[in-house]
Symmetry: C2
Subunit: 373 residues, 2 copies
């Protein structure tokens, strides 16, 4: 006798009902995931267990007129993971991105997450993951703000005024009750003004919008960096004051003197080791480095100017009290995060459990019994 | 104003209604995909555009009691692809496998396929893919039987009597009307007898069940090989008669003298080049070769005993008349297929289109309009 398999479908609206916009809960979830990462109780793809994901790489040009070609933010990526602890579940995030999407009334990326029974592979849930992915991305610097930022931080500079930084700021502000002002910077002035209006309305925080990067950075106690990859963001060492906390979610360029003097905490050292390994395997290490957030850091490590990854600190170790985070109010602390499928699986799982409990979503039947066993 | 996004959900039953069991149609679909592959009008994962997929690799042992560990057929794999031609669509197959599943009334693997708009990334369909995957896997040797087997083939040896070979045989028989007899071999005699009963009933073909591999192979005009990976299958050169067609869907070992004397046709030479590249990058070439169907062949190529992959033939080129397939009734022709996400996307797309036309499946709303753009 075959076994019936059912799973839960959650639309974007269902994920809201299940709590995806509750920034505090998302931070707690991400913090828990970080501790599992530092303990090693997870698997991502590949034989190194730490592959970020597998993407369709669109060619620069193609003899086939319909084939997608490389373009701004244009990609599809599959990101499988197993997450341990109380989650104990497998899943896969799958998404397509295209900078042209907003012209069509769509977000730049369209994402879904599948959760699966770790033993049988049966789907448990299939869900819209745009808000999930934004929430987990934002929750990561939220965790870092909780553990690394000065509690008396008053000014937050928002570098890059897109959707990602909305999630980041929403999350960071839950951790820093003294924040009085935000300074919003974007290469597009309209974007920084729109962001500021949104922040006033939704988060009740005041501030200013500027297209002067130096003005935005000087005076900031916390930087949240999630600028578009379209134009590199160069933040000079001298602009960054003592005691600053730099939360890096998107690419940032800075002087070597900053990298070598800041206390650097990684989201997960193993992930960065995997990036370096993949860079070597690609046959074009420098080219690969250019495409990843940690690229400038790996270059300095290779040159012997920064400590090796194996001697570095993951934030999970700070959370667990195994290594030191910020130790005084003067040091400049930088946190680098790259995005891991484990966070999608972790937060997706809690949304799924909440949905089950509250009767949110649509039950779908995979089969009443499998046609073939 | 945001754009509404809807997509179609197809349960296993829906995929049956949409025609997944129609072996002839599935072969036509796979044949079309093969021509696109040989023209290069597709993309799979990775910078080489030909990665088979990205899997969770379970460790042999783990300090975490809940973490899945390596076991028979135990894996999760994500397989993304873009397929061109009239399909012009992206998709991802995602599945988990576990040899323990049948004890729970489940198939060994549980599979789903997502199809996505190539430009926006929006999901078009999410579907149960167990039958889809079996059908496309079976259709591949069906295409090979159509183009490479002697039309007067009378005896088919079925090596490995599981679900995969059911699909293969169903497909092969649609192409070879002269077949009078099947010989079913499996290491488990009960499996071969069960297979024979099924074939009599569903396909109306008579034959015999045996646990004597030599007896099964000698006299066969066509071999369909899809045995479990649990025990290697060693087929001796001397058992394989002149004019035989060997259709390899699962691992087979044989004498070097067979490999070097048969005419070998690949499903897609580029895929095998990618396997060899990944083997080199893995740092354990020999170990990697052991895990893939083409391993014994790549070893002989590396030793200079067989022609290089770049000088080899893909079946798409035979279909298009660009290279020769079988040229006489005496030569022994072997076809090697490894499974590509392009076939899941191709067949999935036709099922989706049929379902749309016939009103099969369930429309699901991703969002009425996206919460964030």
């Amino acid at each position: 006798m075959g076994k019936k398999t059912e799973f839960l479908y959650l639309s974007e609206r269902d994920t809201i009902e299940a709590g995806v916009l509750d920034a505090k809960k998302c931070i707690d979830n991400a913090e828990e995931v970080f501790t599992l990462l530092s303990e090693g109780d997870y698997l991502m793809g590949g034989s190194n267990h730490n592959s970020h994901g597998l993407g369709l790489v669109f060619p620069k040009e193609s003899p086939f007129p319909n084939m997608p070609v490389a373009g701004p933010d244009r990609r599809f990526v599959a990101m499988p993971a197993y997450l341990g602890g109380r989650f104990d579940v497998c899943g896969n995030k799958w998404y397509g991105s295209n900078a042209e999407n907003p012209k069509k009334g769509l977000p730049r990326s369209v994402l879904t997450v599948t959760l699966n029974d770790k033993d049988t592979g049966e789907p448990l849930a299939f869900m819209s993951a745009n808000l999930l992915s934004a929430a987990r991305t934002g929750a990561v610097p939220g965790v870092a703000a909780r553990h690394l930022a000065r509690k008396d931080s008053e000014i937050v500079a928002v570098l890059g005024c897109g959707q990602i930084n909305r999630s980041c700021l929403r999350s960071i502000l839950t951790q820093l009750p003294q924040v009085k002002k935000i300074v919003c910077y974007d290469i597009f002035e309209a974007a920084s003004e729109k962001f500021l209006s949104w922040a006033k309305e939704e988060l009740g925080v005041d501030g200013e919008a500027t297209s002067d990067l130096e003005a935005a950075v000087r005076g900031a106690d916390v930087l949240t960096v999630a600028a578009s990859r379209l134009k590199p963001l160069y933040v000079k060492d001298e602009w960054l004051k003592a005691g600053v906390t730099v939360l890096i979610t998107g690419p940032m360029q800075t002087d070597t003197s900053f990298w070598t003097s800041t206390k650097l905490i990684y989201d997960n050292v193993r992930l960065h080791e995997a990036y370096v390994q993949e860079a070597i395997e690609s046959g074009d290490k420098a080219g690969y480095y250019k495409g990843v957030i940690g690229g400038p850091i790996y270059t300095l490590i290779d040159e012997g100017k920064m400590p090796a990854l194996k001697d570095s600190t993951s934030i999970g170790e700070v959370i667990l009290g195994k290594k030191e985070g910020r130790t005084n109010d003067k040091e400049r602390v930088t946190f680098v995060a790259c995005g891991m499928a484990t966070f999608d699986v972790g937060l997706g799982y809690d949304l799924y459990k909440t949905a089950l409990k509250k009767g949110i979503g649509q039950k779908l039947i995979l089969w009443d019994e499998p046609y073939q066993q």
